[in-house]
């Protein structure tokens, strides 16, 4: 190694240390300012009592954790349905032959409607409306139809993501597949989809994080999941601390998921560049 490069490496190391030091110091300063200044605000005591009551947090936390199991359950059984329906809609939209036009039009209509309508309206409409047509128990369950509403909405988004993945695979790949004698179905299955799906993994991870939170919307039609449980505590105790507890539980799940999505995205960028 030449003398010059040794000097350069040492210099860069020094610069990096300096940068870390400054970043650390400035973060510390901001944090200290927050900790010192916020409690100085005249209303802090009241806010603290309403949002950060340690006793209430401890006493309500176990029931929140228990209610969160329902969120996880809804999430887990909706996920495969979203993946399958999303893929089917994306494939329907990719139909190129004129005879398949109705299928293609239907899938376009589907994605337009379910992406355009607020999730909460879909949940009310399907969660109350379809059972209201006269279904008998247990087929009118709000768990069932609420999940259906989530699946319909999210598969519309996922379908669009997968479609963008399919379109990102260069046309020459299909041509290559066909020239090898593969049918168009096989070309899609063995050539296009494996590449397309891999490309849209990071985008779908984002949907996953969003779904984790939107599961809580099912509470509007009855199920007592974490947000509702927190709301009950809030109402009886006239205190918002249970929501803070619920937020902590959500963060414990969504932050790692978001970090993982970021990691995948960065990895993809590196591979492409």
């Amino acid at each position: 190694m030449s003398n010059r490069s040794v000097v350069r490496i040492a210099y860069e190391k020094k610069q990096k240390r300096k940068g870390l030091l400054i970043a650390g110091l400035s973060s510390l300063l901001v944090l200290a300012a927050l900790i010192v200044l916020v409690p100085l605000a005249p209303g802090w005591e009241k806010v603290q009592k309403s949002f950060f009551d340690g006793e209430i947090l401890v006493s309500t936390f176990p029931s929140l954790l228990k209610a969160f199991l329902l969120d996880i359950a809804i999430f887990l059984w909706s996920l495969p349905a979203i993946a399958i329906l999303g893929l089917l809609v994306a494939l329907a939209r990719d139909q190129k032959s004129p005879s398949m036009f109705p299928l293609r039009a239907a899938s376009i209509l589907y994605t337009d409607i379910f992406r355009g309508v607020p999730v909460i309206l879909t949940i009310f409409l399907i969660g109350f409306g379809i059972p209201g047509l006269g279904l008998q128990r247990p087929w009118n369950s709000p768990y069932l139809w609420g999940s259906v509403a989530l699946v319909l909405t999210y598969s519309a988004y996922v379908a669009e993501i997968i479609r963008s993945g399919i379109e990102s695979v260069h046309e020459s790949q299909r041509a290559a597949g066909q020239s090898l004698g593969l049918s168009s179905t096989d070309t899609m299955r063995y050539v296009v989809l494996p590449q397309a799906l891999r490309r849209v993994v990071p985008a779908n991870m984002n949907m996953l994080v969003a779904l984790q939170k939107d599961v809580a919307l099912l509470s509007f039609i009855g199920p007592v999941e974490i947000l509702r449980q927190a709301g009950v505590h809030k109402s009886l105790l006239a205190n918002f601390t249970p929501y803070v507890g619920a937020a902590l539980i959500f963060l414990a799940v969504t932050v790692p998921a978001t970090r993982y999505a970021d990691y995948l995205l960065a990895k993809q960028h590196r591979e492409r560049s």
Partner: protein
């Protein structure tokens, strides 16, 4: 033997009584002076929408409906005439959030509880609400009766902002967990969808829902307020440590004592008799 009281004695009594009434009115007006958020005006909040029979047609300034009438009566005792009352709206969450409020008091069937009293102030109660069970005719046909044994087997739905939860878990002890909703409308919608058998409301609300909103609604029974362990009493909600509390309490107490509250109740909440009591 009767004793004739001379006419001038009567006159004296009447004058003294009138003077006392005027003095207490003036006193009440003085009590509230400078303590309202807007000088010379009493700002009262209720829900939006506000429901029958508490407020008619969602127009509290008409003074029609039980809570609208109570609000004006309280304001009057505090020395605020009808033209000195302003209305605003507030949700449940807005009402219990920390910090300054944009109303002097707020009435929307807030039940007084010990826990809530740590965060806000409540006046003396202006109404004791019996809890009532609302079902559809189909549930009655299936054999539901106004007894705890029958009620505990039903599938329940409740507005999660109410104290009905405690009633359900402590008195009825329902066998399945209830479904919870944001407001009465959603509870009714779930009843229509047959997702729940029964809902728990205060009696006047249950009467209204069964008569107007549900085609086949039946008020199965009621838990009289004076018989439950934690009677559901409605109070006017104020900011924690409100300077007005003493004046409002005085006004509510005097309305209770002279029978004004009872007559307002008779005017707006009278159809509540004849509902079977739950044993």
């Amino acid at each position: 033997m009767t004793r004739n009281v001379p006419l001038n004695k009567w006159l004296q009594l009447v004058v003294a009584g009138a003077a006392l009434a005027m003095w207490s009115n003036v006193h009440a007006a003085e009590c509230a002076a400078g303590k309202t958020i807007k000088d010379g005006v009493l700002t009262i909040a209720t829900g939006n929408p506000a429901y029958y029979p508490w407020v008619m047609d969602n127009a509290p300034d008409s003074g029609k409906g039980f809570e609208a009438a109570v609000a004006y009566a309280v304001a009057d005792r505090m020395g605020f005439g009808k033209d000195k009352v302003e209305w605003t709206s507030a949700t449940f969450d807005q009402s219990i959030q920390p910090g300054a409020k944009d109303f002097d008091f707020n009435l929307q069937q807030f039940s007084i509880t010990e826990e809530r009293e740590k965060v806000v102030d409540f006046s003396e109660p202006y109404y004791s609400a019996p809890m009532a069970v609302l079902v559809r005719q189909g549930t009655v046909d299936n054999g539901a009766t106004a007894s705890i044994d029958s009620l505990k087997t039903l599938k329940w739905g409740i507005d999660s902002n109410t104290t009905g939860m405690a009633m359900l878990s402590e008195t009825i002890k329902s066998e399945t967990d209830p479904l919870l909703y944001d407001d009465n409308v959603n509870v009714i919608e779930a009843m229509k969808a047959n997702q729940i058998d029964a809902g728990l409301f205060d009696l006047p609300t249950a009467m209204y829902l069964s008569a107007v909103v549900l085609d086949d609604g039946v008020v199965l029974g009621q838990f009289p307020a004076d018989r439950s362990d934690n009677p559901d009493q409605f109070g006017l909600l104020m900011e924690d440590g409100s300077a007005l509390k003493a004046c409002v309490d005085e006004a509510v107490l005097s309305l209770t004592e002279d029978g004004t509250l009872a007559s307002i109740e008779a005017e707006w909440l009278q159809q509540t008799t004849g509902v079977p009591v739950i044993e």
